[in-house]
């Protein structure tokens, strides 16, 4: 009897043990991905901290670890062989439309399809029968494969997590893309239906390692040695030195003038811009033109939507990547819907025709002879006279496929939601009274040619897209009489004298386009004046920007800047967010008239209207986190453009329409290209500075919020972001220390 019981206990413990091993293993695999941050595809390059996986460590420690993991120039020899094979399969699997004869069986998912094909890969097994038999004998379950491989490679149990981490960090770009696919992509964002899982990729990577490098356990000792050698003290000191001189300068500017009087005179127009650093010099210039009040607000204007074009049927998310779109908004042409549709079909047919002849056997031979002369002509024109060519091109397009103005169908947002989006947006930008005649929501977007990084220049708050659709939605909502009535109940009184209007600031050319087809006549005079003033602002801002781009200023500056946006050979059409270093949260009166040199994100905030701190909580946990991502992306792309950026555009090669490689083949180069952060190969434009956040609010309120929000404790407590409070009660600056105490400056 005793024996039986004993046995039963034995069996039971064995069972729990094996269960424990399984859960441990799941945890190990999951943890091994923690050091990898996501990377968005080219179609919407959302900015992200390339070492976001290290944010739970103090900044200087993360800097050191990241260097050890990501910046190593010398790998063990066979690691490179494994990488080469991994790249080959990933390139084929993740292709979104470059190849015509695509990898077979991709619908089985990454692991399964590769497993089925690798059986025939003679370069892997090189005639070794044992290897191919082993490959055939492997299970289909990724976790089992991982255990089997770790076993084969004789990796000690306690080192499993570290080894798996190294499997990812030695090919960081592709791992980051897979992390995006598994953790961030939604259906809208995801035009590749073939599935991939973290375990699946890990299993594939380990299978290749087993086949090609039986001594892969060496990787662990290699890494340990590097960790010992790595030292970032000097680098960190340099960063701190640069930061303190920037910050000193910034606070002097902010301290300089009498900031706390708010003029109550009525403005001719109020314009809300995105918090983007490119808005700041533009706003400054606009304010100098007349009685204009400008505000800063996240460029998606608080409406988390996905946008669908009625004509083309294409759709995309248009909100920060931290949010999921809550509504789908269809944009329809204002007039001539049939004409728009016809034009679209015509251009689609033309493209289809071209692709059908190009991507086949035999027919390309005729194709090149037919269009050779034409492409030669185009090549000459675009290279020698880009601007004229663009004008001719635009004319041709207006005949074949004329562009059309659109307006959003907002009825997919329930009325109560509309009211709450309207109210929240106005409250967040601190615009709840004293409405002027015209209130403009000005989104932004870029216009460049032949630029793989186009979307990195678009609106980050819109997930790497143009901001106009969101501006159109918010203004449509707020122009509704019913909505205004409901807002009145919340104490926001908007009279008939006010009209909300959407616009888009083209950050490459500084042109502002208005969506004003339904503006009542009574506003026309004000609008015309605004348009006239904006054209002056455009000239002014172009002049200023031409200086930053090393151009000679002349009468034709505006024209030259316009040309840059149309030029297929231009690698620096605009500076994007390069130079960004500060985020100022407070009333515009704090920064008005101060020369911030296009380096600051600006968010409007009135501490007196936010007694419970809920608005500030939103600003700190949403827009601020996005600005920190942007800041970190520029920081690290500048720090080491090879490890965290994507290298020079000159040798880039777009793979699978999702990302770029360098040359023949390489890791997926995540991060910004050299030309986005450097003036030249050797000279930086962007400076490696961590984000300095300045908040105009009482110390106690800020601290309370920080203590409630884990993410803020992580960022401030680990020194990823500097937080400074400009206390309205004492009018003094206080820095938040890592131990979350205030230091008076």
């Amino acid at each position: 009897m005793m024996i039986v019981i004993d046995k039963a206990i034995e069996v039971k413990t064995e069972k729990t043990l094996s269960e424990k091993v399984v859960t441990d293993q799941n945890k190990i695999i999951e943890n091994s991905w923690n050091k990898t941050g996501p990377f968005w595809p080219l179609r919407n390059l959302a900015a992200v901290n390339p070492i976001s996986g290290f944010e739970d460590q103090p900044f200087e420690e993360a800097l050191k670890n990241a260097q050890a993991y990501f910046q190593q120039e010398h790998f063990p020899e066979f690691m490179e062989t494994v990488n080469r094979h991994t790249i080959k399969w990933l390139q084929a699997f993740f292709d979104e439309g470059q190849s015509t004869i695509s990898m077979p069986m991709r619908n089985m998912g990454l692991l399964k399809s590769c497993q089925l094909l690798m059986r025939f890969d003679t370069s892997l097994c090189s005639g070794d029968k044992g290897k191919s038999e082993w490959l055939n004998s492997l299970s289909e379950d990724p976790k089992e494969i991982i255990s089997e491989c770790l076993n084969n490679l004789k990796i000690p149990l306690e080192k499993h997590e570290e080894f798996l981490t190294l499997m990812l960090t030695t090919l960081p770009g592709w791992a980051a893309y897979i992390k995006y696919r598994t953790d961030w992509a939604d259906e809208k964002d995801n035009s590749n239906p073939n599935s991939v899982s973290k375990e699946g990729y890990m299993a594939l990577r380990l299978m290749l390692t087993c086949l090609l490098w039986s001594d892969a356990a060496e990787l662990l000792s290699w890494h340990e040695q590097i960790l010992e050698k790595t030292d970032v003290k000097e680098l960190y000191c340099l960063i701190k030195k640069n930061e303190s001189s920037f910050r000193k300068n910034l606070f002097e500017k902010l301290d300089d003038e009498s900031k706390f009087s708010v003029e109550a005179s009525e403005a001719d127009a109020q314009l809300a811009f995105c918090i983007d650093v490119r808005s700041e010099p533009f706003r400054k210039s606009l304010e100098a033109q007349g009685k204009y009040e400008t505000l800063g607000f996240a460029g998606f204007f608080g409406v988390p939507v996905s946008i669908e074009d009625e004509v083309s049927g294409s759709s995309h998310s248009s909100c920060p990547v931290l949010l999921k779109p809550a509504h789908k908004i269809v944009e329809k042409p204002i007039k001539n819907r049939e004409l728009a549709k016809k034009g679209f079909n015509r251009s689609q047919n033309f493209k289809r025709l071209y692709q059908s002849v190009k991507y086949n056997f035999t027919t390309p031979f005729s194709l090149v002879e037919t269009v050779g002369l034409w492409s030669g002509l185009m090549m000459g024109l675009r290279s020698i006279a880009p601007q004229k060519t663009a004008v001719i091109g635009a004319k041709l397009k207006s005949v074949c496929n004329p562009s059309y103005d659109v307006s959003p169908k907002i009825d997919s947002i329930p009325f109560e939601q509309q009211v709450s989006y309207g109210a929240n947006a106005l409250k967040l930008m601190g615009l709840t009274r004293n409405f002027s005649r015209l209130v403009v929501f000005c989104g932004h977007g870029s216009s460049t040619k032949n630029n793989a990084y186009e979307t990195a220049l678009d609106c980050g708050a819109c997930g790497g897209r143009h901001g106009a659709p969101n501006a159109r939605i918010l203004s449509s909502i707020l122009n509704r009489v019913e909505v205004r009535k409901a807002l009145e109940e919340q104490g926001i009184c908007i009279t008939q004298k006010t009209w909300f209007l959407a616009a888009e600031h083209n950050t490459t050319t500084d042109e502002v386009v208005f969506y004003d087809h339904d503006v009542p006549d009574s506003f026309e005079e004000k609008l015309n004046k605004l348009k006239k003033d904006l054209s002056v602002v455009r000239t002014e801002n172009c002049k200023w920007r031409s200086g930053t781009m090393g151009m000679k200023t002349s009468q034709k500056t505006e024209q030259k800047i316009q040309t840059r946006s149309q030029d297929w050979a231009q690698v620096r059409p605009e500076w994007g967010l390069a130079g960004n270093a500060a985020f100022i949260i407070g009333a515009r009166s704090l920064t008005k008239g101060v020369d911030l040199a296009g380096r600051s994100f600006l968010h409007s905030y009135d501490w007196q209207d936010d007694k419970n701190g809920s608005l500030l909580t939103t600003i700190l946990t949403a827009p601020m986190v996005v600005t920190q991502w942007i800041n970190a992306q520029y920081f690290f792309s500048t720090l080491n453009n090879t490890s965290y950026g994507s290298g020079s555009k000159v040798t880039q090669n777009i793979t699978g329409k999702v990302g770029v490689m360098q040359g023949n083949a390489s890791d997926l180069m995540h991060g910004l290209p050299l030309q986005s952060v450097n003036k030249s190969d050797t000279e930086n434009y962007h400076e490696c500075l961590r984000l300095s956040v300045v908040v105009h609010a009482p110390k106690s309120r800020i601290l309370k919020i920080v203590k409630e929000q884990e993410i803020l404790q992580k960022l401030f407590g680990n020194g990823w972001v500097h937080l400074t409070c400009l206390d309205p009660e004492t009018a003094k600056f206080y820095d938040l220390d890592r131990d979350l105490s205030w230091q008076e400056k």
Binding site: N349, N360, N450, D567
Partner: protein
């Protein structure tokens, strides 16, 4: 002066080549002024580009074999210098080495060929060599050696690897390479065309390796998932077709092909930054038989216009029929997507479009062949079995893409397809040493 003149030959072929290289060089100079701004090697790039263009100019007007060989050597070497751009990047250096080895092989073949020809004839002028009587053995050896040189230069299988591994070069260098130097093979064959008309075995071998390369290159092109390697493999296929045209005795058509392809490919390289933006559209394959027949009728109309405009017979028993067949295939293919998306009432419009294509196609070829007419290097051959087999391969491959079905269930994949896919995927990979397997080895 006359001493210099005696080294040179200014004929229509030189004229065409000088125009092509000069024009592309000019475009690239303008392009690189902005594209390479801030690049620490921009100056070196321009100096090398000047050398390259000058040496190619000399090459295409050289009549003396040793001058020709020197210019050939210098231009190849300068190209390998341009390919490196940043010598700190090992993969780029390896690409350049690979190309250099290949070119050295080609130069050796060329030197040997020139030696054989000049020893036999006692001449050092290409024109004089071509007009003198050659021994059969020197004709064959010289001819074959020149073919081998052309193959190395134009990345003809099995000498293609340097080209498909050359994408570590800056984009403008790739453009220059694909519009310029790569055409050296075609130019060389056209230069020595009279040699090949003397022996059909030589022409047939050019044709066969050309077709093999055309099919292989195109297959690899269709399989690549990155834009630049796709373009490089496509060039390989196009060069193969150009070779095949030479093998058909249609040297002016081959020169037309290399010119128009050069411009087209240079344009595609320079605009490769847009690759992610161009969405692939659904082509509704396989088409219904009705649509296919209608498309075929459109294709016939297009091919007919092609014949009229390029001055060919619609029904001929010689190798020009090859070109007509290609126009027919292209015309049919072009009409297919249009038909699948429109109602039948648009048929006349679609036929008209196809005929327009035929017209442009025909005129493009006519432009070059007309220019080269005085050289008398277009002599269509009688059709033989090789030609027929090749044409049927080209047709079947085309139809296979149009009528292939996607296989949803992996169990239904025949094993040979999977094997073949993996084999071709591996074969089309760049040379391992030219891959940047550790990104940190990349250097700006």
């Amino acid at each position: 002066m006359s001493a210099i003149e005696s080294l040179l030959v200014f004929d229509r072929l030189s004229l065409v080549m000088v125009s092509l290289v000069g024009f592309v060089g000019l475009c690239i100079s303008f392009y690189a002024a902005r594209y390479l701004k801030g690049d620490r090697k921009q100056r070196v790039f321009y100096i090398n580009l000047c050398f390259l263009i000058t040496s190619v100019f000399i090459l295409v007007i050289a009549d003396n074999i040793w001058l020709f060989l020197t210019a050939w050597t210098i231009s190849s070497y300068v190209l390998t210098r341009l390919m490196v751009h940043k010598k700190e990047w090992p993969a780029a250096v390896e690409s350049s080495k690979l190309a250099l080895k290949n070119f050295l092989l080609g130069i050796t073949f060329l030197a040997a060929a020139f030696l054989v020809l000049s020893v036999d004839t006692g001449e050092t002028s290409i024109q004089k060599i071509l007009s003198s009587e050659l021994k059969y053995s020197s004709l064959i050896t010289g001819g074959l050696l020149i073919i081998l040189t052309s193959m190395t230069q134009s990345a003809i299988w099995p000498f293609h690897r340097w080209l498909t591994s050359s994408l570590n070069s800056p984009t403008p260098v790739s453009a220059m390479m694909h519009a310029g130097l790569i055409n050296g093979g075609g130019f060389l064959l056209a230069r020595f065309a009279p040699l090949y008309f003397q022996e059909s075995v030589l022409l047939n071998s050019i044709f066969v390796i050309g077709i093999i390369t055309a099919l292989t290159g195109t297959l690899w092109k269709l399989m690549q998932s990155d834009v630049k390697r796709m373009l490089a493999n496509s060039t390989m296929g196009q060069m193969g077709f150009m070779f095949a045209q030479c093998g058909l005795g249609l040297f002016p058509a081959a020169v037309a092909h290399l010119c128009w392809h050069g411009l087209f490919k240079a344009y595609l390289f320079l605009s490769s930054g847009s690759a992610a933006k161009v969405k692939r559209l659904d082509l509704d394959y396989p088409p219904s038989l009705k649509n296919f027949s209608l498309a075929f009728v459109c294709g016939l109309a297009g091919a007919y216009i092609f014949c009229l405009s390029s001055g060919k017979n619609f029904v001929a028993a010689d190798t020009t029929v090859f070109l007509v067949a290609l126009a027919l295939i292209a015309g049919t293919q072009m009409a297919l997507p249009l038909l699948s998306n429109s109602s039948v009432k648009f048929l006349p419009l679609i036929a008209a479009l196809t005929m327009l294509m035929g017209l442009v196609y025909g005129l493009s070829i006519k432009l070059v062949t007309y220019t080269l007419l005085p050289m008398n290097i277009s002599k269509p051959l009688e059709l033989n079995a090789l030609h027929t087999v090749a044409l049927s391969f080209l047709t079947v491959a085309w139809l296979a893409i149009v009528f292939r079905r996607t296989i949803e269930n992996p169990k239904n994949y025949p094993e040979w397809i999977l094997k073949f896919y993996v084999r071709m995927l591996n074969a089309s990979q760049p040379h391992p040493k030219t891959v940047t397997a550790n990104r940190n080895k990349y250097k700006v």
